[in-house]
């Protein structure tokens, strides 16, 4: 039973750890499917985390915090849009810039406003998203197998966790079942086709980036208002890049994205759980190896050893009308 409990607990933390990855990964999906590379996921998540925790603490409202996280994150996405859509700048350069501005400004503003070494004040109950206990979770907790799965794995997460997983079918539905999704995919493949069909390429791409901003905002809010009781500097710690890796790993598909993020979340959870304790057969695995595994797997995928990851064709190329 111990092994079973350990597994349930590891899976439970897998879910918790994969949520920010999943939200950021889906965020990247919207922009990259629209033909805008976005290595600024990290920065947008970070400003979202900061704005969320700061607003929640000042206004004593978790939902106001979430709203502010989304707002600021979208604002940063719009800067990316202004540079890479309106001014046709290099999308990678713009993304790098956003990551720096985010890293610097969250610390400077956090210190100036709260004087706690770049932290925001610890969030009080009501200022953060609490876990939701499903009906009957306590009652069946002791039922073997089903009990722990229901009570620990499924129940007892915050609303943002459920939202993140609901975003997967929703994103799939938007992309493949709606007019907006059709156009968004088209603009990522051949913007000229969209332009000549009488649709504004720029506006469409801006809308895709708004979706990206909303989702990175929620991802950030999750980090600072659910996983942690406040903002800590550099708290994204590379999660934006792992999400990017997951996006490639998922070959730009929403359902695959969920599995990729769960895999990467699991690696993280397992690394924390094992903490150097030996595994059967393999023996002792360094924590750092487990942490590096998502990146190694992505490189192997990119090298074409496990299927081919073909990005949207117009990705990374600013749209200029031919003449």
């Amino acid at each position: 039973m111990d092994v079973f409990n350990a597994i349930v607990q590891t899976l439970d933390s897998t879910i918790r750890l994969s949520v920010p990855l999943l939200l950021a990964c889906l965020a990247g999906l919207y922009s990259e499917r629209a033909g805008i590379f976005d290595i600024g996921l990290e920065g947008k998540m970070l400003v979202g985390a900061f704005a969320g925790a700061a607003a929640a603490s000042v206004f004593h409202s978790a939902f106001l915090g979430l709203g502010m996280a989304i707002l600021i994150s979208v604002a940063f996405a719009m800067v990316h849009g202004f540079a890479s859509i309106t001014h046709r700048g290099n999308q990678i350069v713009s993304g790098v810039a956003i990551n720096f501005i985010a890293a610097g400004s969250t610390i400077i503003l956090g210190q100036a406003w709260f004087q706690q070494g770049g932290r925001t004040p610890a969030l009080q109950p009501g200022e953060r998203f609490e876990a939701i206990t499903w009906p009957g979770a306590d009652a069946i907790h002791d039922v073997p197998i089903i009990g722990p799965i229901y009570a620990e794995l499924l129940s007892g997460h915050s609303i943002l966790v459920y939202l993140a997983f609901l975003m997967v079918p929703f994103t799939w539905w938007v992309l493949f079942r709606t007019r907006f999704g059709l156009r968004l995919r088209a603009v990522g493949e051949n913007p000229a086709a969209v332009d000549t069909a009488g649709i504004s390429v720029a506006w469409l791409r801006y809308r895709a980036l708004i979706c990206t901003g909303v989702l990175t905002g929620i991802a950030g809010a999750y980090l600072s208002m659910v996983q942690n009781g406040g903002f800590v500097k550099d708290m994204t710690a590379g999660k934006g890049y792992i999400a990017l890796a997951a996006l490639i790993f998922a070959k730009w598909k929403p359902v695959n994205a969920m599995f990729a993020c769960l895999l990467f979340g699991f690696l993280d959870a397992a690394a924390i759980r094992l903490q150097g304790s030996p595994l059967p057969i393999i023996g002792k695995v360094p924590v750092q190896f487990m942490q590096a595994l998502p990146y190694i797997l992505t490189v192997i995928l990119l090298a074409g050893f496990i299927g081919k990851a073909i990005p949207p064709r117009a990705g990374g190329v600013p749209y200029v009308k031919e003449r």
């Binding site: 290595i39 800067v79 202004f82 540079a83 890479s84 001014h87 046709r88 700048g89 290099n90 999308q91 990678i92 350069v93 713009s94 790098v96 810039a97 956003i98 990551n99 720096f100 501005i101 985010a102 890293a103 610097g104 400004s105 610390i107 400077i108 503003l109 210190q111 100036a112 406003w113 770049g118 590379g238 890049y241 990017l244 890796a245 490639i248 360094p286 750092q288 190896f289 942490q291 590096a292 990146y295 190694i296 992505t298 490189v299 990119l302 090298a303 074409g304 990005p311 200029v320 003449r323």
Partner: protein, 379 residues
């Protein structure tokens, strides 16, 4: 068409536009200073005084600049070949390993002037090898080099953390770093040069790596504009199809350019490791690789521009430290913002002001904007 904008005089193209972009970046940074309730002009004065006001300040400025010259050159060499090497950070970090091996082995037996060349070779070879894998994957398997080099930054960090908390850490020590090097791996300071000009220096880490950086800047200029290899790299960077036509091997040129870029990134590690800290510690690169992107963009990929831009960023780092001291609300992270803004305005938005400047020039004299020359391109 190929060039969306008409020609400006070279001084406007290489001088005026970068300066305007830089100016705008600073204006925006000024707003951030306002936002935290400080006076941006006073902040600017403190910053410049901190960087250049005293001999020690100048020495520190040049010490930081040394680091950024290496990483800026690294980014620029790859960029001339059309490759975005975002992995300078990781290449420099892992190169610390090569330096550690050389220094820990020889610091007790060799004098610095023998350890140093060995460390140069070790750092550049390790940096080059770390760039080789993404380069190979780009050339042979078509993996996007931006993504693979990002991934390699993280992989490098994991390896270094593993080694520095484990095998490389001296027994009984708590700090995640190697033991301190002995005199045989400590590079001589260059502070006496500044003292020649009458300035007093208390203690500053400016060391011979600065000279190495200047030599490398010259060699990069020579490579890019005066050698066959540089010609081939630029051809490939501008047009891979033309390179194929000209019989230039795609695989060879990508791998060569990336390895040179990685070697330059690797040499960056010499400056803090052998010139200042005298050990290899966790996160000793601390973002210098990414500063290299800003420096290369700001310097428009030209070694002279890169040296100037590196000094500018050195000034920001040193002046920023003084600023944090004078204005507690502003920490050194202010520089990270400025860095981001410079990358944004000098990089992603580099053409934002161009049409206005062109219109301005055109209103003075249409010929100077190359209107004549564009005419034939309508066909």
């Amino acid at each position: 068409m190929s060039t969306p904008y008409a020609k400006l005089p070279a001084w406007a193209d290489y001088g005026l536009i970068p300066l305007i972009n830089l100016f705008v970046a600073f204006v925006v940074a000024g707003f951030v200073v306002l936002l935290v309730g400080e006076n941006p002009l006073r902040a600017a004065v403190i910053l410049v005084e901190g960087a250049f006001g005293k001999g020690t300040g100048i020495a520190f400025t040049l010490f930081y600049a040394t680091t950024f010259i290496f990483t800026g050159l690294s980014v620029a060499v790859a960029a001339h070949c059309g490759l975005f090497n975002i992995g300078t950070e990781g290449q420099a970090y892992i190169a610390g390993l090569g330096i550690a091996v050389v220094c820990l082995s020889f610091d007790s037996v060799l004098p610095w002037w023998l350890t140093f060349p060995l460390a140069i070779v070790a750092s550049s070879v390790v940096g080059a090898l770390w760039a080789l894998i993404p380069a190979y994957l780009q050339a042979k398997r078509g993996s996007h080099i931006v993504i693979t080099t990002i991934m390699f930054n993280f992989i490098a960090a994991s390896i270094m953390v593993y080694l520095l908390v484990g095998p490389l850490k001296p027994a009984g020590s708590q700090a995640p770093q190697t033991r301190n090097f002995l005199a045989g791996a400590e590079l001589p300071k260059l502070n006496w040069i500044i003292e020649l000009f009458g300035a007093k220096i208390r203690s500053a880490p400016l060391n011979v790596c600065f000279l190495l950086a200047l030599v490398m800047a010259f060699l990069v200029w020579l490579l890019i504009w005066r050698t066959k290899l540089g010609y081939e790299m630029r051809t490939y960077g501008h047009s891979p199809k033309a390179a194929r036509y000209a019989g230039i091997s795609e695989t060879r040129i990508i791998i060569t350019a990336m390895m040179i870029s990685g070697a330059l990134a690797g040499m960056m590690a010499l400056n803090p490791v052998m010139g200042d800290q005298h050990n290899v510690a966790i996160d000793f690169v601390s973002g210098a690789g990414f500063v290299g992107i800003a420096v290369a963009l700001m310097g428009r990929l030209h070694p002279v521009g890169i040296v100037l831009a590196a000094i500018l960023f050195g000034m920001l780092y040193q002046g920023g430290a003084e600023l944090a001291f004078e204005m507690p609300a502003i920490s050194r992270d202010m520089i990270v913002i400025i860095q981001g803004l410079v990358i944004l305005f000098a990089g992603a938005l580099e053409h934002m002001f161009r049409p206005y400047i062109q219109a301005l020039f055109a209103s003075f004299s249409p010929r100077s904007v190359g209107m004549e020359a564009v005419k034939g391109k309508g066909a």
